[in-house]
Amino acid sequence: MNELLKLQNISKTFRKNNIDALKNISFECAKGDVISIVGSSGSGKSTLLRIIAGLEIPDEGEIILEKNKINGSGIYLAPEKRNCSLVFQDFALFPNMSVKENIFFGKNASKNKSMIDELIEFTRIKNLLERFPHEISGGQQQRVALVRALSINPALLLLDEPLSHLDHELKHQVRNELKNLIKKVGATVLMVTHDTEDAMYMANKVLVLNNGVVDQVDSPASIFNFPLNSYVAGLFGKTNILPFKDFPFLDHHFFDKDRNEDVVSIRPHEFKLIDGNSSVEKPQIKGRVVSVDSLGPFLEVSIDTGKFELIVHVDRNQKIETDHDLSFYIEKK
């Protein structure tokens, strides 16, 4: 098995408010995987990362890293002894040390000098080495934090909301660079983020945490197209949750606890507008326009089919007016 990290039934309760932070979390991570952990705030994402890093102790469960049990009943390996490294949300650079001192602070950092020098070149922070953390920009700080974390050549790299502290304009560029860095180093990464777009961009696997429980672990495409519940479906973009019995021709469906029935998830762009003249073989959905809003490259149209309401996206060149009747067919990839 190529698994680098394995979690089994990790649970933790917050002592203060007696809330379950994590319930029976189990998943695996193979070498070279880049896994994004997503979920709303308070879902326990950061706690999970800290537990893996060893900064918090779970109430129950096991963790195996590189075939060694680092958490279990009666077992707890101190964070300084674990072969993984955590990059914090606020970077946590030591303000009293220069960039260079920060980077070479790690216990075994001096053994990896050539690798570190290469990373410094790659991330273009060579000219910042003598500066202090408060003298460099947020984006530069992030790069320094990354290089510092990689300086000890960890088996597992943990990133806690690496892109949250950055300006929106900066984000895309930084995201790109981060992806390249990870690829270059061949690092195995667990990345916590609340931004689902970042999650899908950066990772080859996405893990959805919903109130302390793992709802789904899958590739970004699968998560997007074949969500296992309404929460996951809604997390990655607007979607219509509709009864399966009205769309029996669709392959993928799941059970919704709140509605107590099987449902399907159809994204707004998966509804294709049928021209008044053309005829289509596929099942049609007809409805009346309730409202039309322009969202830039497309129009967002609210449709009332009589049975339920739909949100669909149509090309902006279409002329849509309220109270018109429209027909759609469904095209899923």
């Binding site: 102790i57 707890y76 650079l93 602070f105």
Partner: protein
């Protein structure tokens, strides 16, 4: 009983976790040190169990009086100190007026004068009222005179103590007012609030946690006082404790009184914590620093100056002036009354103790935070109880403690400087722990996580990450402790070694023998010694804003 139920019991689970995973050199040493420091206090608390034969007598006769008097003093001093402290803090932080800058740092000066010296500087103030009292006696009746006399005693004692204790509230309130963003008050004003209502409805409630903390300090100091209440003749718990111990030869009874006192102090502290936690006012994150103070016109300026000057004059100028004039009278006897040895004793003792306390506090707080240990956190809280307990009571606890050690090891501890330093540690550890805790929490907690994540040892984290970042905090903590120790009286009186005079004990001895004039010399030396670090501290705190 099903073991799985036991397993799910949280405290047991926490304890199990702590024992399994957090047992190491640092935590074991910290735990032992913390418990050792708590020991004398524990002795006193334990004595609540034993029944002294005099206890029913005490309960029937004097217990209520002690309680009532202590309560009156505490309430009165807290009230007046609040008025002095909050009013001056508000004026200084919000308004600009002539001499405002000078007053700002000068208002801290009364802290240099301990309560017993303030009392002694005003020793004859009640005599001033004699003509009035005689008049009342002759023209109204005896009862009226007695009532007036008693009220005057309380009032004067409260006023004297408030005038030297209010700076605790002043400092904390000032810093709280300054932190409140200007925007909040501007917003309030656009909603129709005038200056007065801004103060009462917004600024004051927001500053409540800080003000309550300041009041709590004033209350502790009031209950700790031994010299002032003795001088003005108000029987309080502290004097009752001594009376029972020494007058009736009943140490156990005295300990029981101490335990009762401690119980009420803890009750007050719990109330305080409640009051503070309910108001979780976060510092406004987007607050801009106080840039513009409102400039006052001439009349209001004068009023503001008068308001700030009053406590300053009462608490510093008058005592200092009187002491200096007495010192001038007895200047020929100066070398006989104050020796270099006395000064170096005070200084040496305080410096050694301060350094020890800061180091111990650093160890205990760091270990607790670094390992996130509930056990160490708890033992730290035990070890820092000493600050809430009057010095005289701690001295008794330590005497008990050493008598037991003496019986076992045949080693005389009393009369050694080591014991006195230990006593100071027991009493003042909290003074260092509080700022150091805040310092590490603010500056180092997340960095320690980074350090751990990078594989550093505990010692490396302490040396390279924590200490450099909290250097200022350590110095501040050291200075605070130093000032408290130099001023300390009751504990030093009881535990001091052979032939060992400090400035505080010399002042007390002379003044209690009614050698008022002569006592001014050691008193002034003491004030001078305290003023230096006090002013320096104030300067540092100002600059760090």
């Amino acid at each position: 009983m099903d073991i799985s139920i036991l397993k799910s019991l949280k405290p047991l689970r926490i304890l199990k976790q702590e024992l399994l995973f957090k047992l190491n050199g640092w935590t074991v040493v910290s735990l032992l040190v913390g418990l050792f420091i708590f020991f004398p206090i524990g002795e006193i608390l334990l004595s609540m169990n034993s029944q002294s034969s005099n206890w029913s007598h005490l309960k029937e006769t004097v217990l209520f009086t002690y309680f009532l008097n202590s309560f009156i003093l505490v309430f009165g001093t807290a009230f007046i100190s609040l008025i002095f402290g909050v009013s001056s803090a508000w004026l200084i932080s919000n308004y600009q007026f002539k001499y405002g800058k000078i007053l700002e740092w000068a208002l801290v000066l009364p802290l240099a004068i301990p309560t017993y010296i303030a009392a002694y500087a005003y020793f004859d103030i009640l005599e001033l009222f004699n003509p009035l009292l005689v008049w009342v006696r002759n023209n109204i009746n005896i009862e009226a005179m007695q009532l007036l006399n008693d009220s005057l005693v309380y009032f004067v004692t409260i006023l004297v103590m408030s005038s030297v204790l209010f700076p605790y509230i002043y400092l904390l309130a000032r810093s709280a007012f300054l932190k409140q963003g200007k925007q909040l008050r501007d917003a309030a004003k656009t909603l129709g609030y005038n200056e007065k209502s801004v103060f009462w409805k917004i600024a004051l409630p927001m500053a409540r946690p800080a003000i309550i903390a300041g009041v709590s300090l004033v209350v502790m100091e009031t209950l700790n006082d031994y010299g002032a209440v003795k001088h003005f003749g108000i029987p309080t718990f502290t004097s009752g404790i001594f009376r029972t111990w020494l007058g009736m030869g009943d140490l156990v009874g005295a300990l029981q009184l101490s335990a009762v006192l401690i119980f009420f102090i803890f009750l007050l502290l719990a109330l305080e914590k409640q009051a503070r936690s309910r108001s979780k006012y976060h510092d406004s994150l987007h607050s801009k620093p106080m840039s513009k103070k409102i400039i006052l016109n001439k009349n209001k300026s004068t009023a503001a100056i008068a308001c700030c000057l009053t406590p300053l004059i009462l608490g510093f100028v008058i005592p200092l002036f009187r002491l200096m004039s007495w010192a001038w009278i007895s200047r020929d006897k100066a070398s006989a009354l104050v020796s270099i040895e006395m000064i170096s004793n005070s200084l040496g003792l305080s410096i050694i103790s301060s350094i020890s306390i800061v180091l111990i506090a650093l160890l205990l707080v760091f270990t607790s935070r670094y390992f996130n240990s509930y056990v160490i956190n708890f033992s730290n809280r035990l070890a820092t109880l000493g600050y809430s307990i009057p010095g005289a009571v701690i001295a008794i606890g330590i005497l008990l403690f050493t008598a037991q050690i003496n019986a076992v090891t045949n080693f005389v501890l009393t009369g050694s400087l080591v014991l006195l330093v230990f006593a100071y540690i027991v009493r003042y550890l909290a003074v260092a722990c509080q700022p150091i805790n805040a310092g590490i929490e603010t500056n180092c907690d997340s960095l320690n996580n980074a350090s751990k994540s990078l594989g550093s040892s505990t010692y490396t984290s302490l040396r390279l990450v924590n200490i450099p970042l909290i250097k200022n905090t350590l110095i501040t903590a050291g200075l605070l402790v130093f000032i408290d120790i130099i001023k300390e009286l009751p504990l030093t009186l009881i535990l001091r070694p052979f032939n060992f005079e400090t400035l505080s004990t010399a002042t007390f001895d002379l003044s209690s023998q009614a050698q008022i004039i002569e006592a001014s010399l050691p008193a002034l030396c003491m004030i001078a010694v305290v003023l230096v670090p006090l002013v320096y501290l104030n300067y540092r705190l100002d600059n760090s804003r």
